[in-house]
Amino acid sequence: AAPVQVQLVVPMAVVFSTGSVPGDLPRPLPFRDVQEMEISVNLRTSVTSRYEMRYRSTMGQEEAALAAATAREADAALHPLQDTTLGSLTMYVVPETSSLLPQGINVYVGKHRSALVRAGGSLAALQARLREVAQVMSFSASSIAAALSDRVPDGRLGPDARRYLKSSLGYEITFSLLNPDPKSHTVDWDIEGAVNRYVKPVLDKLSLVANFSVDSQILYYAVLGVTPRYDKESSSFLLSAHSLPHVINPVEARLGSSAASLYPVLNFLLYVPERSHSPLYIQDKDGAPVSTNAFHSPRWGGIMVYNVEAPASPQASLPLHVDVDMARVMEVFLAQLRLLFGLSREEVPPEFLLESPGNEGLADWELDHLLWAHTVENIATVSTTLTSLAQLLDKIGNIVIKDDVASEVYRAVASVQSAVTELSLGHLHAAFQASKEAVTSSERAFFDPSLLHLLYFPDDQKFAIYIPLFLPMAVPILLSLAKIVRETRLRKKEPTKMD
């Protein structure tokens, strides 16, 4: 892959409240400090992270805010006082004995771009803790590696790294209700209300990252590709974990690709099993039933099985009317959506407490987390695209580059350079915008129909056409060469005979 060198600069303010200042500060407050960290991806790709820390003590209003009773109240009160530019972090260091954080919790990450950190005695301990917080809130080696998963050698990637969606200018989210047995079940879902209530807030927040469109459909007679196994003990049907990969393919043929757009599609399927196969449960690898009865497929979407309760009386007339409990379904789908965007909250150290994002569905720092990863990924993508374009041009000497293609390439290079510069200045938003433009321009140049290599006549075929010329011409030359060889051999032999 093409070389990529990026420096990610995170502006970080460390604010000490009274009584939390460690004793071993090298200088009196305020002062600045820089910490660098190398994230190794492969030989030609290097990502350096650089935390520009500004240490200072609290101001009056901040002190008042930190005097709040709970961490949540403090976070809300502190929000108007801090730097709200994308990518910046504010850490409030509270004394070791502060009652703001519950017992056993050392770090509280708020809804916005700030965290409350318990002072850890020495400055070194505090810095280690701050680094940990920064990795949760902005990016970590593993999130960068996942963003650059194409460049990371196979063995070194975590199992989750290939799960995240590739960065794109837009995504299409499709909710599909699969009803394989419309004779027995009439299924209704209030998808419109559910989308407005649960999905829209998240997507509004994510609209900074990409364009999203949401739609839904109901598919009848769409069956899973696997026949579930009947379990006598629980008198239910089971889908085991190893058969799940085979479930999707036959369904996907019915989903209908979105012919009208080029964006990747995220599919969320709600499957109401046939009457003859209900209830249906998904088993995990150990054979235990999955509590959500759902699974997800990396970079594709998620499937949830929704069992219909058997009617009280067996002679209840068919079809059964089913109203889907959308809160239950959307809870699962939203969790899967976060997972696919790499915003899962699983991998957080135990002494961390994360504030739930509430109605907005997404905390500010989670958005930053996504932007960091996507910016790096975009830069890497542009570099790869332009490199392979250059390789193509090297291969075909007489290819014609039109002016508009050339200008797209220049624009892509300029944008990607500006993205790298903005990153090294700590301007996350500007860097992301520039990287998006770079991707658009480079893709437009790369997929320009005039650059199709099949349009150009390969050189070997030109030679093939002239074989009728070269072949008869070569015959006398080869014959006379053979004759010369024979004669020189004879001449060499003759003197030995003379002796």
């Binding site: 004779k183 990969p245 012919a259 959500t292 899962s344």
Partner: protein, 581 residues
């Protein structure tokens, strides 16, 4: 795609807000599906089966806010909303409907692919939207619609009016294209079936077995999308998707010599199940008596009801099987409609349709030619006008001054002519004429053309096969023999309700003539290579002798060991085992 790993999700997040209010049970359905099969025994003994599936959706697709689909296919709905489509008609056809012998079809389409689309007035760049639309449709239906470009697209001014609700008819919003070379097969049928809510799993669509449908003399599948009035007051718009499929089974190829038909003989399937989503599911069999005599056909099992209607100016009687009526499947588990002729039909009974047409290429040689169109009006006493639309590719250069229209030996002056000349490699010829057809007459329209020479890269594969010229289109309001009653569109069978009827005295007919196959002067494509080979050989031979002349050294040869005779003698002696001379 192959989703390799599926990771179990064990995580639950309490991110979502409060639970939704329970959706009102028994919510009013805003979409409805009706399906229908019409079986028409044709005068020749063949049988035509016309399927219609109509999905009606009481929502305004154009507003863009609607993105939650139930019965309406999402792929088409998004297309309509994204590209500002007002009306879309796509037909893919294999074979030719022989109007003269088969009578007026309920729905005819030209051989190959036909696409005509009305766009919304809000669409600013219609050509771009048209290009994009044809590309997307080509992806959805696996057809070569992406070959639609400016060289085969025309803007008719009079022939194609919107079939649905329309405010204005500014024909600049209309695009029409025909690809006569398109071959229709299973790969086009499968995506078409996939658009049906029940797929081919239940209901009438069970009969759609590709193996049988393409073993027929005519196969035409179509998709029509149009806005319609939601109710009689017409204050709100509903969208209608009609999927139609017409197939004509040949009685000769069925090989039994008997003209008796049954669903099983035609489709090798029978009806066992209804689509639970359909609000109406009916099979109509045309059992109209010919010549007011006793009926010819016998159908079994006995139909649920009998429907009488005036269709295309003719009184028709239909035997109706309502699949949703519980009594139908009570007696037997499956429905296999059978048609038996009570007595043999004689050919004199064959009714001749009021309007039919014929077209052919005249002339000889590879330089000029003539397109002749014959239009027949067999109505005994009424004249009526017809609009003829002719699209001719640019490589046939029409001479408009040679256009002659002759009826009953006299020149017939068209009352309206719209002619748009072709431009080489960008635009086809478009000729639209309004011609009055006198009663009981044949009108002959001829126009001469010159064949253009193409550039060698412009020839398609197998250029000696010839070049197709799409069917010409005849649209007419044909006077009816019997007065028609105004019907409620929602109640009447689907096959009568696609074209709007203007008043009781006439009915709308659209006919397509045969596509033409024209030979163009075709160069010998191997010639450049032959020339290269020949010149190369000549050059190589010259080079060889020069080379030898320049590099060989010449010696004086010693006297030979005797002449040819002696050498021959020695060979023979060697064979005989005698020592040589």
């Amino acid at each position: 795609g192959g989703m390799a790993a599926a990771v179990l999700l064990l995580l639950l997040l309490a991110a979502a807000g409060p639970g939704p209010g329970r959706a009102e049970a028994g919510r009013e359905r805003r979409d409805a599906l009706r399906e229908e099969l019409l079986l028409t025994p044709l005068p020749t003994g063949d049988v035509a089966a016309t399927f219609q599936f109509r999905t009606r959706w009481d929502a305004d697709l154009q507003r863009g806010a609607v993105s939650h689909y139930r019965l309406f296919p999402k792929a088409l709905g998004r297309l309509v909303a994204a590209l500002g489509v007002r009306e879309l008609h796509l037909a893919l056809t294999q074979g030719f409907w022989r109007t003269r012998y088969w009578g007026q079809p309920p729905l005819q389409a030209p051989a190959g692919a036909e696409l005509w689309v009305w766009f919304q007035p809000t669409v600013t760049d219609v050509d771009k939207a048209w290009k994009e639309l044809s590309n997307i449709l080509s992806g959805i239906f696996c057809a070569s619609l992406n070959f639609i470009d400016s060289t085969n697209t025309v803007i008719p001014t009079a022939s194609f009016k919107p079939l649905g609700l329309a405010n204005g008819t500014d024909h600049h919003l209309l695009r029409y294209a025909v690809l006569p070379r398109e071959v229709v097969c299973t790969e086009n049928l499968t995506p078409w079936k996939k658009l049906l809510p029940c797929g081919s799993k239940a209901g009438l669509a069970v009969l759609l077995k590709a193996e049988r449908l393409f073993h027929s003399s005519y196969h035409s599948q179509a998709v029509h999308i149009r806005p319609i009035c939601r109710d009689a007051s017409c204050l709100a718009v509903s969208w209608e998707l009609r999927q139609t499929l017409t197939v004509v089974f040949d009685f000769f190829s069925s090989g039994q010599g008997k003209k008796d038909w049954s669903l099983f003989k035609m489709f090798s399937r029978t009806l066992t199940d209804t689509c639970p989503l359909a609000s109406q599911s009916k099979v109509y069999v045309d059992i109209s008596p010919k010549n007011k005599e006793k009926e010819l056909l016998e159908v079994s099992p006995p139909p649920t009801s009998v429907h009488e209607a005036v269709v295309q100016g003719d009184k028709k009687t239909y035997a109706v099987y309502d699949l949703l009526s519980p009594s139908l499947f009570n007696t037997s588990r499956s429905l296999n409609v059978q048609l038996k002729w009570k007595r043999p039909q004689d050919s004199s009974e064959m009714p001749i349709p009021t309007l039919h047409a014929q077209r052919y290429v005249g002339g000889y040689g590879l330089q000029t030619g003539e397109i002749c169109t014959l239009i027949y009006n067999t109505h005994p006493y009424r004249a009526f006008p017809v609009i003829l639309l002719e699209t001719v590719p640019w490589y046939l250069r029409l001479y408009v001054h040679t256009l002659t229209i002759i009826t009953k030996g006299k020149e017939n002056k068209p009352s309206y002519i719209h002619y748009q000349p072709a431009q080489d490699r960008t635009r086809p010829h478009l000729l639209e004429m309004l011609i009055q057809l006198p009663a009981n007459s044949v009108t002959k329209i001829t126009i001469q053309f010159e064949r253009a020479l193409l550039k060698w890269t412009e020839y398609p594969p197998d250029p000696n096969h010839g070049f197709y010229v799409g069917s010409s289109v005849l649209s007419a309001l044909v006077p009816s023999v019997i007065a028609m009653k105004d019907m409620d569109v929602e109640q009447s069978p689907l096959f009568t309700s696609l074209f709007p009827s203007s008043d009781g005295s006439s009915y709308f007919v659209r006919l397509y003539t045969e596509p033409l196959l024209v030979n163009l002067p075709t160069p010998d494509f191997s010639m450049p290579y032959n020339v290269i080979c020949l010149t190369c050989t000549v050059v190589a031979v010259c080079y060889g002798s020069f080379y030898n002349l320049l590099t060989r050294t010449f010696h004086v040869e010693e006297p030979s060991r005797g002449g040819l005779a002696k050498r021959l003698a020695n060979v023979i002696r060697k064979l005989r085992g005698v020592p040589p001379l």
